[in-house]
Amino acid sequence: MKKLLAILLAVVMTCTLVFSVSAADGDTSTAAGQNDSHEVKVTVNDETEIVYNVDIQWTGLSFTYNYDKGDWQSDSHTYENESGAWAGAALDGKVTETIKVINHSNAPVTVTGAYAANGSTGVTVEVTVANGSLPTAEDVDPGNLSSLTATVTVAVSGEPTDKTANNAVVGNINITIG
């Protein structure tokens, strides 16, 4: 009797299992022992806020214009052979410094640069950005950051109108991280 009851119980449990799987898929098969596969879909909503980590490194951004007013001519009361050049300038007459922006975040960032002049100073400043679209730092070797580094180049040219300026601030550099 006990054996019969145990067998009956096992059959009932098996049928129950069959019915559970079938109900999810709408399958009406109730035969025990039948193989059936269904996709189980799981969705994970990750609402963790991204904490960005970006380094910015810059040099002095200070430029010197060497000016020589020339030779004094006592007969004409003027100077002759006036000259001037930016210290460290290249052949094109421009002197440059760079700003590095390094993305250590687990999300990509974009880097752009701009210059805002403080009025008319005679000094021309150009800001250009190389490699401004920085990928996520996930899986990037911390010892090789070149792919995560944007280089902002500040090129200065022109001639200051104020020849007596000393540490005059001619403008501001702005880096925008998006």
Binding site: E49, I50, V51, Y52, N53, V54, D55, I56, Q57, W58, T59, G60, L61, S62, I99, H104, V169, G171, N172, I173, N174, I175, T176, I177, G178
Partner: protein
């Protein structure tokens, strides 16, 4: 020389100190009451209130005065002393001198003692000690007033010169970074900063507070100040500004009290502006940074 004795009267109205004792006498007012017309009594001379050395000193002064009179020829040929007698008062003997011997501002009449019927001797004392005391007190008062006036009217000390680059005040809401073991980078001639932030700001209009997250790690060479803006149609609208966030600190709250735009509940595009300050010189770097694409969620 005559000898005079102090006669006690029941109607003496004044007492003067002679040594350790008191001498009773008439005041000037009493004499005028007794002799309203000024006649009917005589002054036999005047005596100087002083005992022991004080009396000797006065007598010595009179002797020198006699010498001066003799030298000037104003003294009588046989005159040896100015003194005309002695007045006995209690156990003291005072020299009696002619009337007006002590005339002058430096001497004052203290009273009149009776030495006979309608006969009096005027007793005097020097005003010099009193004048010295008054002079000293007056000088002290004048000096004190002068000092007080000088202090009141003294120009305020010059204010200390203001620094060329005053550092912004540290924001009261900053908190130290936990477990921040990063090493501080030297400034040299430029800077090296790390910006650690989230791109979400939650504004509570009722509390006028924006919840943000900005961390300035200890390794940063500069302190920072953060401003929050709304971006709309290419324009930026100021919402709030932090105080200084030093390297090694985090800020998670901005006040909206000075916002220049009113908002309704909802979501907006925002922008952070970050400025860098040299903590040693206070100089603001000529490089600043914008963080674009900030999500601003506004609730009432």
């Amino acid at each position: 020389m005559a000898n005079f004795n102090h006669i006690l009267k029941t109607d003496y109205d004044k007492r003067v100190k002679l040594g350790k004792e008191y001498v009773f006498c008439y005041s000037k007012k009493k004499i005028k009451e007794l002799y309203p017309s000024g006649a009917g009594y005589s002054l036999s001379g005047e005596a100087h209130l002083g005992t022991g050395k004080a009396q000797d000193k006065f007598d010595e002064k009179q002797r020198k005065r006699l010498e001066r009179l003799k030298e000037s020829g104003k003294a009588h040929a046989e005159q040896q002393t100015l003194k005309t007698g002695d007045l006995r008062i209690g156990g003291h003997v005072l020299g009696v001198y002619p009337k007006d011997t002590n005339a002058g501002f430096l001497s004052k009449s203290n009273g009149y003692v009776a030495v006979g019927e309608n006969q009096f001797i005027s007793i005097h004392s020097s005003r010099v000690p009193f004048l010295i005391t008054v002079g000293a007190i007056s000088a002290a008062i004048i000096a004190a007033v002068a000092i007080i006036l000088a202090l009141i009217t003294a120009p305020a000390p010059p204010a200390p010169p203001a620094p060329d680059n005053p550092l912004p005040v540290i924001d009261p809401n900053v908190v130290p970074n936990e477990d921040d073991t990063s090493e501080k980078k030297p400034i040299d001639s430029g800077g090296s900063v790390s910006l650690i932030y989230t791109k979400k700001a939650e504004l509570n209009l009722t509390a006028e507070i924006a919840k943000i997250y900005y961390k300035n790690p200890n390794s940063s060479s500069h302190d920072t100040v953060i401003e929050l803006y709304i971006v709309s149609d290419g324009n930026t609208y100021f919402l709030g500004r932090s105080g200084r966030v030093p390297a090694g600190y985090t800020i998670q709250e901005l006040s909206l009290a000075e916002r220049e735009v009113e908002l309704k509940a909802g979501q907006y595009e925002g922008l952070y502006k970050i400025y860098f300050y040299n903590p040693e010189t206070g100089e603001k770097a000529i490089l600043d940074t914008n963080i674009a694409g900030v999500t601003v969620v506004v609730t009432e």
